[in-house]
């Protein structure tokens, strides 16, 4: 309950320090076990056969030759994965995505799979599978897919959210609308209106670890799965349902994860590995190649966005309007509505209207990438805001301060904001030395603001006190950013013991209740809150034991910095008992001492960020160098500041890649042309400068320490900040991403021609 969680104004002992992380030694010595590092006796290698066509009917699959190949122990197709989805539309889409049914819906769509004694045999077996395709026309561009004559992917999709209801199926799944006030009236009041259209191409989260898992299903129907994932409970429940297994029969263990960023919040190869193992009756390891990761996991949406903003001469916005067209690959569920909802969230607006369209195309099913849907929308909106400020002759930062959302603002997506940190980041930015640093030749400065909701979710934590007074902590949210260190800090803080007396593990699905996926920037917030409550529950029990030992009432005992003490002079004159003292007597005083907490966390605080970037554009080559970058973001309370900085820097780096180089390039045949790290160019060390960070702390009332999620917001401003910076440096505004050298050169040439 929010009232119980009013942030402590206390001075923290360990929270806020920078101890070494518990998984550190393993990670610097190569001992840490990631998804592809597990082995099992008798293990088979699993490989997936994927459609070479962007859109095709699958008439027939002949696996007979593959099955006869020596060393092949199982071959599966759609026939081995019957429909257990029981009318759940979302599950049904996943079921079709992991193994095609009547149609291949994108190049890379899984069509069959084999398990063999080694990789070479598995590859040979795939070549022996004969698939009879009837190639169909395809569409990969979001605007093309919305046109009346476009090839339609699903005959059961009739656009929702439009009146009158359409009679023909289309690729437009749903229309959303948000906002308040009267934008028509607002635009009439404006002295200046700017209207622009933007396009962004799909990108990939680019985690260095490809999807990998090791599945082992026995003849009794019990299964084990080792997998790199952001949510092993989600994997368990989804896979069990798809395979028609009881959920409790499947035990999933989360390996260390080599990056996720949202791309590992769903399943791709896991149900296939389990189905292969079940058929072969042997463990099966399936690891995606990098090419498969690009073609058949979950990239972001590509988008087409219209923005219209009207302002008065004094800089006050009178109306803001946006239309957001997002394609989410071959299935419904692009984050178009989040783009619409977050787009104007940084502004205090009287009149705002945002419309979003979720569109399907013949591309892999999209997955989240940090704040899903928000970066593209921010790119469009913040570009227009900067242009308006420039046209008014107002400093862009002052324009944003003048119109900034603050406590009491009715947000552009509906609810009224409580205490928020946007103005604080803007005011800090204005004071920051970066802001007034001199610029060189061909250099330009840009800034942008970003917003993300963050949320809570189902979370369970168990805390056990061992007989020597050290503590084990079992959490259920995979550690993707250093969260185990933060959990240990919070447990140590509550118990009043040193940080290194607490060891945290990510427990398997049989050891804890359900935990939602590690997403939504939720772990430090929710698992942290659960850890604090579990620690407090344990403290209650520790005090009760002390009371028993002293023969005084329970409420006469208090806990202070690791010791049970009599609450006052009337309670008795007993020397304090340390946690270790009480733990040593646990067996004789009632048994093991533990605290646990299971709940659905809510009250996550929204977070805002401001980014400032200087870039230099070479007018002859269009090459852009990032010269200086500063992130200012509200973290509520930084439990482990080094890891908060790491999130800020990582999100900024991903944004830089997205803004300048990264894009999915499709050929006319609907096939991905650049499915590798050479041609899908993510930033390397020499591309980037140091990334400076400023952590602001405006406490979130919904968490005992004031924690706000930080992981996602950092990717929202960079696209826009860099667009603004590059536009300033090059002297021409770019409206499509990425702003790669050819595009910058083309824009410069068009401007030179006087367009």
């Amino acid at each position: 309950m929010p009232l119980d969680n009013a942030p402590d104004k206390r001075k923290f002992d360990v929270v806020g320090t920078r101890p070494l992380r518990p998984d550190g030694i393993d990670k610097v010595t190569g001992r840490a076990k990631f998804g592809a590092d597990a082995v099992a006796p008798g293990m088979l290698v699993g490989r997936v056969l994927r459609s070479p066509h962007a859109h095709a009917k699958i008439r027939k699959i002949d696996t007979s030759k593959a099955e006869k190949l020596a060393g092949v122990k199982a071959v599966i197709t759609r026939d081995d994965l019957p429909d257990h989805t029981k009318g759940d539309a979302g599950l049904r889409d996943i079921w079709i995505n992991i193994m095609a049914r009547d149609k291949a819906l994108y190049e890379g769509h899984a069509v069959a799979a084999v398990a063999a004694v080694d990789a070479a045999t598995a590859r040979k077996a795939l070549k022996l599978i004969k698939v009879d395709y009837e190639v169909l026309p395809h569409v990969t561009d979001v605007d093309e897919a919305m046109k009346p004559g476009a090839p339609v992917l699903h005959s059961h999709i009739f656009t929702d959210g439009v009146e009158p209801k359409p009679k023909k199926p289309s690729n437009v799944v749903r229309r959303y609308e948000f906002g308040h006030g009267d934008v028509e009236a607002g635009f009439k009041q404006a002295d200046l209106i700017v209207e622009r259209t933007f396009k962004t191409e799909a990108t990939h989260q680019g985690y260095i670890e490809p999807h990998a898992c090791l599945a082992n299903v026995g003849p009794d129907g019990q299964g084990e799965l080792w997998v790199c994932t952001q949510g092993h409970f989600m994997v368990r429940d989804t896979c069990a349902r798809l395979l028609g297994m009881d959920i409790s029969k499947l035990r999933v263990t989360a390996s260390e994860i080599g990056g996720g960023f949202g791309g590992k919040t769903t399943v791709f190869i896991e149900p296939v590995a389990l189905a292969l193992s079940r058929k072969a009756n042997r463990p099966v390891k399936v690891v995606m190649t990098r090419e498969e990761v690009f073609k058949a996991s979950g990239p972001t949406s590509s988008t087409s966005i219209d923005i219209k903003v009207g302002v008065k001469k004094d800089g006050r916005i009178t109306a803001a309007e946006g239309t957001f067209r997002y394609q989410g690959g071959a299935f419904p569920g692009s984050p178009a509505e989040f783009g619409a909802m977050t787009s104007f969230a940084c502004y205090d607006l009287e009149n705002v209207k945002t419309v979003a369209y979720d569109v399907v195309t013949n591309r892999p099913k999209q997955a989240a990438y940090r704040a899903p849907g928000a970066p593209m929308a921010a790119f469009a909106v913040e570009s227009v805001m900067e242009e308006i400020a420039n046209k008014l002759g107002m400093a862009p930062i002052d324009f944003r301060i003048k119109n900034a959302a603050r406590e009491g603002t009715k947000s552009s997506y509906g609810p009224t904001f409580g205490p928020i940190g946007l103005l604080a980041t803007l005011q800090e930015a204005k004071k920051h030395p970066h802001f007034t640093a001199p610029l060189g030749k061909n250099q330009g400065r840009g800034m942008a603001c970003g917003f993300w909701f963050n949320f809570g979710g189902q979370t369970c934590v168990t805390l056990n006190v061992t007989v020597d007074g050290t503590v084990t902590l079992s959490v259920g949210t995979p550690d993707i950013g250093g969260s185990r260190a933060s959990m240990c800090l919070m447990a140590a803080e509550e118990l009043g013991i040193p940080y290194d007396k607490v060891r945290a593990i990510v427990a398997d699905t049989s050891s804890l209740g359900y935990n939602d996926v590690t997403d939504g920037s939720r772990v430090t917030f929710s698992t942290g809150m659960a850890t604090i409550h579990a620690a407090r529950a344990a403290i209650k029990k520790l005090c009760a034991r002390a009371a028993q030992i002293w023969g005084i009432p329970e409420d006469a005992v208090t806990w202070e910095k690791g010791y049970a003490k009599p609450a006052g002079p009337n309670a008795g004159d007993f020397p304090p008992l340390s946690l270790a003292d009480i733990a040593a007597q646990a067996g004789a005083t009632g048994g093991p001492i533990a605290g646990h907490h299971e709940y659905s966390a809510d009250g996550a605080g929204v977070s805002f960020a401001t980014h400032i970037v200087d870039s230099e554009v070479d007018p002859e080559t269009g090459f852009t160098r990032i010269v200086r970058y500063t992130v200012l973001q509200d973290a509520g309370k930084a439990v482990h500041p080094a890891y908060v900085e790491g999130q800020f820097q990582g999100g900024a780096a991903q944004g830089i890649g997205w803004a300048l180089n990264e894009e999915y390039i499709y050929g006319k045949d609907g096939r991905l042309q650049n499915a590798g790290f050479l041609d899908y160019r993510i930033p390397v060390c020499s591309d980037l400068p140091m990334i400076d960070t400023v952590i602001l702390e405006i406490p979130n009332p919904g968490h005992p320490y004031g924690v706000r999620g930080v992981g996602e917001t950092s990717i929202v401003p960079p696209l826009a900040a860099i667009a603004n910076s590059v536009s300033a440096a090059a002297g021409v505004r770019l409206t499509s991403l990425p702003m790669s050298p050819p595009r910058i050169l083309a824009a410069l040439e068009a401007q030179a021609k006087g367009k």
């Binding site: 992380r21 990670k27 001992r31 070479a120 670890e209 080599g258 590798g676 060390c685």
Partner: protein, 162 residues
């Protein structure tokens, strides 16, 4: 499929194995020798997660055949620490929080060591270009570069004292 007998040295130890002609050194290290510190991120030599040293030279093990290791010396992440004593780079990576998910860390440590072995006093730019063959998606490289520069400074001081 033809098999090849290989005799090589890995982290100072003599190692013999049999592998298929087409197996990469990365496959051999991970699947035959249990040395899973080197990771497969791309199998095309673009990400550096499989970095090892081949006769002291920084190399992507996914671009070397297992057979090619015959008669040569291989250095992997598993050989970087001396027993319980971490190499200064490993300690500095921890101190600077220069890793988040940690999948690229073995490759970076091998690359950073190769860099400092050749150039004990690199500038920030030299560090950035020296590590440009290793991809990291989590950190933005900031803390990695700081860790390497800090290690270089410490190691120069220790050398001067010694």
């Amino acid at each position: 499929m033809s098999s090849v007998k290989v005799k090589t040295k890995i982290n100072g130890d003599v190692v013999e194995y049999v592998c298929d002609a087409e197996e990469t050194l990365l496959d051999v290290l991970r699947n035959r020798l249990g040395l899973t510190g080197a990771k497969e991120g791309c199998s095309t030599g673009d990400c550096g997660a499989c970095s090892i040293t081949l006769d002291g030279r920084l190399t992507c093990s996914c671009l070397v055949l297992g057979a090619e290791a015959d008669g040569h010396e291989i250095g992997t992440i598993e050989g970087m620490a001396k027993g319980e004593e971490l190499h200064p780079l490993q300690q500095k990576f921890l101190d600077h929080a220069a890793l988040q998910c940690g999948i690229c860390t073995p490759g970076f440590l091998i690359a950073a060591k190769a860099l400092l072995d050749k150039n004990p006093n690199p500038t920030e730019t030299e560090v950035r270009f020296g590590l440009a063959g290793n991809l990291c998606r989590c950190t933005g490289y900031d803390k990695i570069v700081r860790a390497v520069l800090d290690t270089a400074q410490d190691m120069r001081k220790t050398k001067r004292r010694a």
